[in-house]
Each structure stands twice: as C-alpha cells, then as structure tokens.
C-alpha cells in the first residue's frame, strides 16, 4: 500500500485527512473577444502547463480564490454561501474533478500524486455526494448496479462475501432496510430521500475517509431532510468520516456541523465553531446571511412598519461579478460598515474568538483614522454588479 492506501494507519491527531492550501480556481471567460485566447490557454493547460489566469490574456472568472481548508476526521465542516459563491467549484476541486489553477491538496499531510493511479487512489479516499439524486443515479440501472460498480472498479468486495451481501451491507449502513426490498429497485421506484441514501451508499462503497456532500438535502422534501442530515452525522461519528457539508442554509449548517466556513465571492470570509459563527457572527456578510434566513423566532415586524424597518442587516444588492471582483474586500460594496481600507486592501483573517476567524478589517486593532474612515456609500463604479447596474428604487413608504 502506498501512503494513500485506505488501510494506512490513521495519522497523528491534528493532521487533517484532507487539507487544501491556497486553492485557486479560475475559469477562462469565453467572451466574443477572448475565445481565441481562451482556447490557446486551454490548449496549454491540456499540455500540462500551468497557466495563471492573467497570463492567459483573456478574462477569467475568479471562482475560488486562495482558499485553505482542513477537513479533520470525524468532524463535519459546513461550507455556507449563496449560489455563485464558488462553493460547488471548491468541492469539485477537492474531489479532483477540476484541476486547480494553483494551490495544493494534501491527504494526511502528503501531496497528492498526479496521474491516473493517483486519481484512483484519491477517489478511494475522497468521495462526493451530489445535490440532485434524481439526476445522479442512472435511470436504466437498478440499485444493485449502482452499488456494485464502485466495489468492482476498486476491487473491494471482501473475499467470501457475495456481491449481493456486500451491497446489502451498504444499504444497511444508510438505513435502507430490509435491503432485499431495495436492491432490485430502479431509481424511479424510490422516493427522493431513498435515492439520496443510495447515492450516499455508493459513495461509502469504497470506504472513503472524506465525504464531500454538495447540497445533499436541498432537493428533498422538508420532512425527510433531517433524516439525511442525521444519517450523515452518524456516519461521520461512527466511521470517522471527514465530512464537508455544502449548503446555502445556515440553519442546517448550525445543526449539523462542528465547524462552519462562510464563503462569499470565491473567498472564505469567516470560519469558526458552528455555534460561535451563528450566535456571534463576526463578518458583516455572515450577519447578512443570518438576518435573511427564515426565522420564526424573529419578532414580528417589517410589513406592519411599512418601509421603516428593513430586516436585512445592510448589504442590499447582488454579489459582485467574479470576472472583475471589487478591489480590497470583495464584500465592501454591499457592506454597511465599509471603511476606506476595505476598498484598498483585502483583509487578512483576524481571530475574534477561540478558533473563530473573520476576514474583516473591522477586527483590526491598528487602523489609522484615515483607513477607518467610513467609505462613502455610493460609489457606483465599485459596485461591480453582475449585469449592468440596477437602480433600486427606495420604497417611499406604505
């Protein structure tokens, strides 16, 4: 077995199973002007030459920018962000479905070798569960086929155990019992929750140590979501899986995760223990997300007060264009607390509490008066909207 083998001894505590260091992923923009350049760049990339985005000549989408993330064993890490924030791109880079523009991936502290066999070893360590169980299972194959394939491909069927018994064992791990009722079913004969359990079982077939779950419950009915989340939690505990739970629902992240990382416009803006991030959010974007989340416990408000009381904690507008992200902090055009320095320099991570980091200049202690001066709120050239700028009419009141 190589150092990547699944039977390798668990590393010393403290080394995360999967670690990403300074991952960056840029996508070339296939605009009418830059198509030719992008094709050239893509060709160079195919030949194995690293092509940093700027050198390619064309515009790039800064989908993931300089992200470092550690997934420790038996821990659930939640990655929270809006659509377009780059969270799924990050998951695909972590699953090695996409090649990062720069940065490195470490498994148990070791570099991941490139090439086909390295890829296969990697797939045995890191598996992914996709969002839509209606699309991720093949409609012309039975459950048996879906679960047998990974066992065959990786040669993992234990000696002396029939394939059906191995599959039944998998189904039992995801609480699809009795297994013989499910093994010959086609995906269309299963409910959404059952399909997602089959997809999870398929990922578990290779006994991975890292599971990347990309919005695993957002396509499912409300009443069965918790069942899947609890299953993921149990798997993480029982099999010491390092779990990355990607979601846009910060409430479910709070419920499931040990650690929450909040992503905005391709960058992680806040990380910390789940409860600390949701109860004492340190970054204005996290505060915005929390204030926008449906919350029956919030005191009855806005409609009665007409236009007087916006419930959102600042931050109107849309996420920035990732082709030309705003300089400095990418959130500053929407930030109600924006200061001069926010438009000039990207904030480093500041520790606001134990293990709780926030990339926001508000937590810097040594800013000069000029740096801390409030940024004038209306600077349309910096708002960087995705499409042409929209003038949002202020409601004049009920």
């Amino acid at each position: 077995m190589t150092q990547l083998g699944v039977t390798a001894e668990a590393p010393a505590t403290g080394t995360p199973v999967l670690e990403a260091r300074n991952l960056t992923k840029h996508f070339p923009v296939h605009g009418p002007v830059s198509v030719g350049r992008a094709v050239l760049g893509a060709r160079r990339e195919l030949r194995g030459q690293r092509v940093p985005g700027r050198d390619r000549g064309g515009d790039v989408v800064h989908a993931v920018e300089d992200i470092s993330l550690a997934l420790p064993a038996a821990q659930v890490t939640a990655l929270v962000g809006e659509s377009g924030s780059g969270k799924s791109t990050l998951a695909r880079v972590l699953a090695r479905l996409l090649r990062p523009t720069s940065g490195e991936l470490l498994v148990d502290g070791h570099q991941v070798p490139a090439g086909g066999s390295g890829r296969r070893h990697y797939a045995r360590q890191v598996q992914m569960v996709l969002q839509d169980p209606f699309a991720s299972l093949n409609p012309v194959h039975e459950v048996r086929y879906h679960l047998a394939r990974p066992l065959q491909v990786h040669g993992l069927r234990p000696a002396g155990v029939s394939m059906d018994d191995a599959i039944a064992g998998l189904l039992e791990r995801v609480a699809l019992t009795p297994a013989d009722q499910f093994i010959s079913k086609y995906p269309h004969e299963l409910s959404g929750g059952q399909r997602q359990r089959v997809a999870i079982a398929r990922a578990l077939a290779v006994q991975p140590r890292v599971l990347l779950a990309d919005e695993p419950v957002s396509m499912l009915d409300v009443s069965i979501r918790l069942g899947i989340l609890n299953l993921l939690r149990d798997l993480s505990d029982a099999e010491r899986l390092a779990l990355l739970y990607i979601t846009h629902d910060i409430a479910s992240a709070r419920y499931l995760a040990d650690t929450i990382a909040v992503m905005y416009a391709g960058q992680i803006v806040e990380t910390g223990p789940a409860q600390s991030v949701t109860d004492q959010p340190a970054h204005p974007y996290t505060q915005l997300l929390l204030s926008a989340a449906p919350d029956p416990d919030r005191p009855a408000q806005p409609a009665a007060a007409g236009a007087a009381a916006p419930a959102l904690a600042g931050g109107r507008g849309a996420p920035p264009s990732l082709v030309a992200p705003p300089p400095g902090c990418r959130f500053h055009p929407r930030c109600p607390h924006a200061m001069t320095i926010c438009a000039e320099a990207a904030p480093p991570g500041f520790e606001t509490a134990a293990d709780h980091m926030s990339a926001c200049w508000l937590h810097a202690s040594d800013l000069s008066t000029a740096q801390a001066a409030p940024l004038s709120p209306l600077r349309p050239e910096e708002t960087g909207r995705q499409t042409t700028p929209t003038t949002r009419k202020e409601e004049s009141g009920a």
Partner: protein, 396 residues
Amino acid sequence: MSDSQRRAVRAGDPLLEVSGLCVDYGLGPDAVHAVIDADLVLHSGEVLGLAGESGSGKSTLAYAITRLLRAPGLIVGGNVDYHHSPDRVIDLLAADEPVLRVLRWSQISVVMQSAMNALNPVLSIKSQLTDVLHAHLPAMSKAGRQARAAELLAMVGISADRLGSYPHELSGGMRQRVMIAMALALEPQIVIMDEPTTALDVVTQREILEELMQLRARLEFAVLFITHDLSLLAEIADSIAVMYAGRLVERAGAGALFRAPRHPYSLGLLTSFPPLHGPRQPLSGIPGSPPDLRQPPPGCAFHPRCRFVMDRCRTDVPPLLPLREGRSAACWLQDGAAVVPPELSVPVPARIEAAPSPGAGPGNPPAAGPAGSTTASAAPAASGITGTARTAGSTP
C-alpha cells in the same frame, strides 16, 4: 383606476371561499385524488399561507381555484366563490370562458414559481408587460402602456431602462420581480404565488419578500402564498393552511400554528427546521416518506408516519375538526374523546393572539382570519407561557 373605486369587498371580509373542492388526475377507479375536500377562506387583504411538501396538492389546489388546471387534472366537486363585490358572488367553477377572461389577471393573478420558464425568452420585458395591458385595457394608449410598464418595474425596484431587456439578461431575482410586477399590472384583488422565491438565494428571497409585503400594505391585495417552507410563512402570513396528501390537515393563525400546532404533521414540520438560536439538540424530523397518492394509506394518510397513531387512525379518515380559537385540525386526537399529548395541546401564547395581524393594511381591522376571534378565552390559559416565548437573538 384608483384603489377606492376598485375595492368593493371590505377588508377582512371573505374574498374567496373554497368549499369541498376535489381534484382528480385521471378518470375512473385509477384516478389519483390530488385534492380532497378542501375548505379555505381567503379574506380581503390577508396573506394566507398554503404549506405542504411536493405532491401534497397545494399547487393543484391553486390551479383549480383559478381554473388553470390542465388535463388530466379534473375538478370533480366543490365550490369556489369569488366575492367580486358585496352583492355579487361569482362561482368560479361554473364561470364560462368570457367571464374567466375578464376575471383572470384583473381580479386574480398568479406568480409562477420558475420565472425563467414563465417569461417568454424571445420577447422583451416591455412587450410582455404591455401585452397584458393591451388585452385588458384596450382603451389605453401606447404611450400610456409604456408609462405604466415603467411604473410597474419601478414598483418592484427595477429601473425603467431595463424595459428593453430580455429575460436572459436579468438575474434570477430580477426575473422574479418582473413576474411580480406583471401580476400586479391590473391591481388584482388576489395574487396567488406558487413558490415565488424557492429558486432564489436566501438574501434575494428576503429582499423580494420585504418588497412584496410593502406592496401589499400599499395596494391591499390578498395573497395566497404557496410554499413548502413553513418557517417562511411564520414571518409573512396572517393565517396558514397545511396540506398533506391532498387534504388540508390544519388551519390556524400563523402565530398560533407556530407556537401551538394541533396536528402531528404540523408539529413534525415545525421540528424539521433546525433553529437559528438556542442550544443545538438532535431533531428527529418526520420518519418515513410522503405517501404515494396512487396508493394512499387507508384511514388518515399521515398515520404510517405519526408517532401518536391510534387504532382508529388506521381505518377512519379524520375530518377537519373545528377547534377552539377558531382553528381546525384533521386529527382524531383532537375530537374531544382522546387524550391529547402535551406537544399538541400547547396553549396559544396570548402575546401572539393579541397582537394585530402583522400584515393588516393601514386602517384595516386585523385580518386575523379564523384565529383571531377568541383571544380572550385563550389569554388566561396562555399567561404562563408568554414568558417562555423565545425572543430572537438578533444579529449584531
């Protein structure tokens, strides 16, 4: 076209009454009963939330009300009365095409879930907005239509220079705003919203909902808001109806439903949303999965998933029983004979029932719907619980 001229039914009075509505898909013994015996009242100026999981029949109910149901959907029974004015009631199920043509959009409009599919991709926003004006207000001049279209866009926070845009040039949130503007073009009395924000990001969703509530306070239309997200309804709806497997299982004021559900399914739904505050504790959700409507379970459709199931539930279908406080629930536990488990008999906190309905327009009596009538009787029992009502730990 001012509101005072158009508004005929007084705020708080019934505007739309649905009784015994049944909708099948298909014919004969194989028909799937998508909506069974639905009773609903939408009051003028009210936001009525209709919650349920996919397949529970909530969209089918809305399409049946508006007569937009397509084959093989078939309305097989019931009444839908629209109170056009205090002395004119229109039976929507009996109305013929010309009557429907006039009523649709000008009195009852619909906002569809997927704006990308509901907007025509090859027509500009302007031509889609002016089209409805052209059809319903033939006397309006071209310039007048243009001005109105610009006004409508401005109303939902989109600048008039986007009039010439095509749907693909707008973001998802803007497309949904255009849909809302279009639905409001003729100042209808009722706007039916079928999951209007489901496909949107949480921040955009919040913005649109806030705008919607402001528009509603100003234009005083009633909303039938269909969603699977019960936690959303807590914040915007005046009253809520919960559907399960084609039947309404509980109807109550929004606050009352949230603090004190009476049906095990409502309780299960409410405990399916992890809270944003307080200690983290394991939640169970609802075991099992929604029933297959082609082979519904006998008796109460929820009984295979219900933790309070009794023998009777397996054989007899519970009717929608009227309860105290003007609410109702379809559960044998609530028929007076059974011992009600404590989770389903939480008294309604007085604070909620006493508060005026949050969405009531200025000057309206609280459009509290069915839940507001017996405030006094609920108050003494509830006095002990008001202190425990959780206050939101609002973000700094």
